[in-house]
């Protein structure tokens, strides 16, 4: 123990911290934060046929579903900026959503029952997204048809924007919106994900 560096190393060794210990403490913290209503946003990730999905919920309900393509770190930072930085990984709050998504991905669930928190979409975008549930499982609708459903028949471009900024993809079925000529159009999770979801629904 001759130099300061040695001493610091030795102190770190003497006070070794193992990952299991930290994970127990993390668990205790999330439980206490939930009880004291400090946990503004809880999140977890799940594996799915369309890749790793980030799920985030406020105390109100599911607020965000994000594809890996959207960059989960950026999505969490966006949630911190727009909702609250009091964010912890806390899978328990998302157990219900995760279960419904599992059922959906094996074709056993055709509609989602979880409570949604719509705060990340406002105005006409929100109106559009709330009308998407009217497109039934296994069916598709054109951007123009959704514009009509939303009460602004000429606003098909705005429908496109609403879909491409959907904070709740899969659960709010923007993948069922396609071009009038029957081709798929774009998708915020990538075209492969869109076609996977449409095939899944067509097969079930």
């Amino acid at each position: 123990m001759n130099t300061e560096t040695d001493l610091t190393d030795t102190l770190h060794q003497a006070l070794a911290v193992d990952p299991d210990h930290l994970s127990r403490l993390h668990h205790r913290l999330t439980a206490a934060a939930e009880t004291e209503r400090l946990l503004d946003v809880a999140y977890r990730t799940i594996d799915s046929p369309v890749g790793n999905l980030l799920l985030a919920a406020t105390e109100i309900g599911l607020v965000r579903v994000a594809y890996a393509l959207e960059d989960h770190d950026r999505v969490l930072q966006d949630l911190a900026d727009r909702i609250s930085p009091r964010i912890l990984r806390h899978p328990a709050r998302l157990d219900g959503v995760a279960r419904e998504l599992d059922e959906y991905f094996v074709g056993r669930r055709h509609a989602f029952a979880v409570t949604l928190d719509w705060q990340l979409s406002t105005g006409f975008r929100s109106t559009v997204l709330q009308h998407l549930a009217e497109i039934e499982y296994g069916h598709t609708a054109s951007y123009a048809a959704v514009a009509r459903l939303s009460g602004r028949p000429n606003a098909f471009r705005a429908v496109g924007t609403a879909c491409s900024t959907n904070p709740l993809p899969v659960v709010v079925p923007c993948h069922r919106v396609v071009k009038s000529d029957g081709t798929m159009g774009g998708y915020l999770g990538g075209l492969e994900a869109k076609s996977t979801l449409l095939q899944l629904e067509a097969a079930a």
Partner: protein, 167 residues
Amino acid sequence: MSSKLPFETIVEVHGPTVLRVCLAVVGGSDADDAWSETFLSAMKAYPSLPDDANVEAWLVTIAHRRAIDVGRARSRRAVPTDSIAEHDHQPDHVEPDTDLATALAALPDKQRQSVAYHYLAGLPYAEIASILGGTPASARRAAADGIATLRRSDVGPHDSLTERSTR
């Protein structure tokens, strides 16, 4: 609009250091309580923390206060009872039962805290002085005295790798 990292990142990045500080300052059996209280208090105050604040110094300041609270609660619990009280609050993990940890625990409070905050948390002495009171020079002296005692206790890297007892 604020731009703060998600609190999860704060726990991930600073959790291990804060735990080492808690282990050094209050010892193995109370470190879990001190750590948990620290991060819960920090989470409460986090939205109003200035964006340019030094997060680690802020956490160590909170840990310092929570460690004092945890220590007080422990002595209150211990006062009216006999030795049974010593056994009803066993840590749920292995104590860092090395010679160095023992020597650290035996240091006077200010020396132990100065050593922990400087050598484990990497805080400058000016920052430590604002946590402990006193001047940066006195914090530096306390840390130096503590380190001198630890060196005299004749423990080295080999000792700190001695086998740990299991629960």
